[in-house]
């Protein structure tokens, strides 16, 4: 059986159930890399030039860990999944870049996704990918329909049950797939409600964000994430802030940020990676909005491979202290 390697990084969090279903329907075995470790991060970082962004370094680490484990590695080049909204250059160059920096990697299965070119081109691209496994176009068609259904189920599961991507993947595909996840204790006395915004590959990679969600929950906070908002809520916030989405994953930052800043919660934490092109702009839009509204505290955390745990913890504690103090003050004023 052909083994397809899928790195647990970048777009894994958005599309894994879809990809897994597609390849399994075509009779392949899917090998997923294990959760990020320091070794992976260092080995990935050693391959690319220094100012490559953190998520791509992590990605390369995952690919390296899969080199001996599979026959192909699946790295799509996703240019656009919405008309006239484009993706970051790094996603487009990912297959070619991986080939260049990891020459020992197994052959890379890539697929060009660009909805601006029309449905026919998209279907042809999918068929071309399927051809690695079968000649039968109908089989590819069945597999892609099943994959799309899996994707819809996954999205539905996240928005209706307020689940994070790792929790939803766990629920859909069984627990063996997912990193040990500490479930929120849901203590009755929540200290505050904190929203964290950013791309899933930063929010849910516990190694690179130093278990941020876990820390917030342990401190007795309710944590909100971008996946818990509906598409309409996200889109209306984007329209309000920048008019029209420019980036494919803009809703995770500008949409969620714009929405949560106006939803009377304790605070908003923006998480971005150092050297991330789109985020450096989008986070600034959110930061400016926070300063203009001046109602909800906002903190942005920039992650990179040198980010030390102690630094993150200190900033987090200071931010939480400020929110608690603010809350106490408001209560006193009311009394």
């Amino acid at each position: 059986m052909i083994r397809i390697g899928i790195p647990r990084a970048l777009l894994y969090y958005q599309y894994y159930p879809m990809w897994k279903t597609f390849f399994q329907e075509l009779g392949a075995e899917v090998v997923l890399s294990s959760p990020t470790t320091q070794t992976m991060l260092s080995s990935g970082a050693s391959r690319v030039v220094a100012d490559t962004c953190l998520p791509v370094k992590v990605f390369c680490g995952h690919v390296l860990s899969l080199v001996k484990e599979c026959d192909y590695i699946f790295i799509p080049a996703i240019r656009s999944v919405q008309r006239r909204v484009y993706n970051c250059a790094k996603f487009l160059g990912l297959p070619d870049m991986t080939k260049a920096v990891i020459p020992e990697s197994p052959p890379i299965l890539d697929i060009d996704i660009d909805v601006n070119k029309g449905k026919r081109v998209l279907y042809q691209a999918i068929y071309k990918l399927g051809r690695h496994f079968t000649w039968d176009p109908l089989k590819v068609r069945r597999a892609s329909i099943a994959a799309w259904q899996a994707h819809l189920n996954y999205r539905e599961l996240m928005s209706s049950h307020s689940l994070t991507p790792p929790q939803a993947i766990e629920k859909m595909l069984g627990s063996s797939e997912v990193e040990p996840k500490t479930h929120s204790s849901h203590s009755t006395s929540t200290q505050g409600t904190i929203a964290i915004i950013g791309h899933p590959y930063l929010l849910y990679d516990e190694h690179i964000n130093h278990r941020l969600i876990h820390r917030l929950e342990q401190a007795g906070n309710k944590v909100l994430t971008p996946e818990m908002l509906t598409t309409e809520e996200l889109e209306s916030a984007i329209v309000k802030l920048v008019g029209r989405a420019y980036w494919t994953y803009e809703e995770e930052v500008v949409g969620a940020g714009g929405h949560y800043l106006e939803s009377r919660i304790g605070g908003v934490i923006g998480i971005m990676a150092f050297g991330c092109g789109p985020d450096s702009l989008m986070m600034d839009v959110v930061r400016r909005q926070a300063a203009r509204l001046n109602t909800t505290p906002f903190m942005s955390l920039t992650l990179e491979e040198h980010t030390a745990e102690a630094g993150v913890v200190t900033r987090l504690e200071a931010f939480l202290d400020m929110i608690y103090r603010r809350k106490r003050k408001q209560v006193e004023v009311c009394v």
Binding site: V48, V49, D51, T52, C53, A77, R79, S80, R84, V85, Y86, C88, A89, K90, L92, G93, P95, D96, M97, K99, A100, V101, P103, D110, D112, N116, V242, G243, Y246, W247, F274, G275, C276, G277, P278, D279, S280, L281, M283, D284, V285, R287, R288, A291, R292, T302
Partner: protein, 360 residues
């Protein structure tokens, strides 16, 4: 309506000529200087590239001088450049400038977009006036680039270093002041002659270095610490892969007719990079492959944190076609001594390589 727009090398000269002919009130911000950079850096998010910071500085300085309508490049499907106008507008508003930003799209329908925008700026001037104005602007841009090509050659071999650059500065001024085609042609021929007559070291065969990378840092000497002149001082002839006049000609006019000057470059890049990654990343890889045999070395200029160029930088070492490449990342922290040291080492390396080839 008082128009302001950012600088990029000599881009202000064709625009100024065009605006003058159309009677548009154009306010030119000071050419890039330390204050522009400081202003830009102060008000920009830290992770952004030097083109954003410098253009923001230009826009602020234009607004200070009273410009109320600012032109900025925009569009979709390119790198984050398409988002810049939106964010810069917010920054200017937050600083208290009541300005309107007009985006000039460089991605889709750019030819008609450009015409429409000029029509709007010129207060609905008739097309019979707009078209000649654009033509005259392009003619100035052409003249500038033709002189610069000569300067690149002479700079490497002139006896008294700096002569060609001085003449170039004079030529730029004269072209800026030329009012009609006759004067323009005269100025162009005049200066090309003068530059060609500079005393040269007849014997030396200078090293030839290709200069590739991101368009803004290629065309704006302030952002790359004038790397081409520094190479000239070291006796190296530079061949820049991109000139403003050519770029405008193709991306605004000929591309709409289906002509693509980059097809050859893209084809060369294909084995290593199969798709456009925005910006000039694809071209950088292709140019390395193409010029590996022609030049002694390649200087790859990129702004710090430039997304497409990082992809290119990662892929470049993997190509079979080999040529020494020096990547220079441009940002506000870059200092001249550091760059010079790297350039000197690079030139030494190319010289050894050439000598080794000769001895074989």
């Amino acid at each position: 309506m008082r128009i302001g727009m950012p600088h990029m090398g000599n881009i202000f000269i064709p625009f100024k000529a065009m605006f003058q002919r159309l009677g548009v009130d154009y306010i030119m911000p000071p050419v890039n200087n330390q204050r522009t950079l400081s202003l830009g850096v102060k008000h920009s998010p830290e992770g952004l590239c030097i083109p954003f910071k410098l253009t923001l500085g230009n826009l602020i300085e234009a607004a200070e001088l009273g410009a109320d309508t600012l032109l900025m490049i925009g569009g979709y499907g390119i790198c984050r450049l398409g988002y810049y106008a939106k964010v810069q507008e917010q920054i200017l508003h937050d600083l208290g400038y009541d300005v309107e930003m007009i985006q000039l799209g460089v991605s889709e329908r750019k030819f008609f977009g450009l015409l429409k925008m000029i029509k709007r700026l010129s207060n609905n001037a008739p097309w019979t006036k707009i078209v000649p104005a654009i033509r005259f602007g392009l003619a100035k841009s052409n003249a500038l680039d033709r002189i610069e090509r000569v300067v690149q050659k002479v700079r490497a071999v002139e006896q008294v270093k700096g002569t060609a650059n001085r003449l170039l500065a004079k030529a730029v001024k004269a072209i800026d002041q030329a009012d009609d085609y006759n004067t323009l042609n005269k100025v162009r021929m005049d200066y090309i002659d003068q530059i060609n007559q500079i005393n040269k070291d007849g014997q030396t065969q200078p090293l030839i270095v290709g200069i590739t990378g991101e368009i803004y840092v290629l065309l704006e000497p302030f952002s790359n610490l004038d790397v081409e002149s520094e190479l000239g001082k070291l006796g190296v002839e530079t061949r820049r892969t991109l000139f403003l006049s050519e770029w405008t000609k193709f991306s605004f006019f000929l591309n709409s007719l289906g002509l693509n000057e980059k097809a050859r470059i893209h084809k060369a890049a294909l084995p290593y990079l199969k798709r456009d990654v925005g910006g000039d990343g694809w071209e950088s890889v292709g140019e390395k492959v193409l010029y590996a045999k022609e030049y002694d070395g390649l200087i790859h200029l990129a702004p710090f944190t430039c997304m497409p160029e990082i992809i290119a930088q990662n892929i470049m070492p993997a190509t079979k076609e080999n040529i020494p490449v020096l990547t220079i990342l441009c940002d506000e922290q870059m200092a001249k001594p550091g760059m010079l040291t790297r350039l000197e080492a690079f030139v030494d390396l190319m010289e050894w390589k050439r000598r080794a080839q000769k001895n074989h």
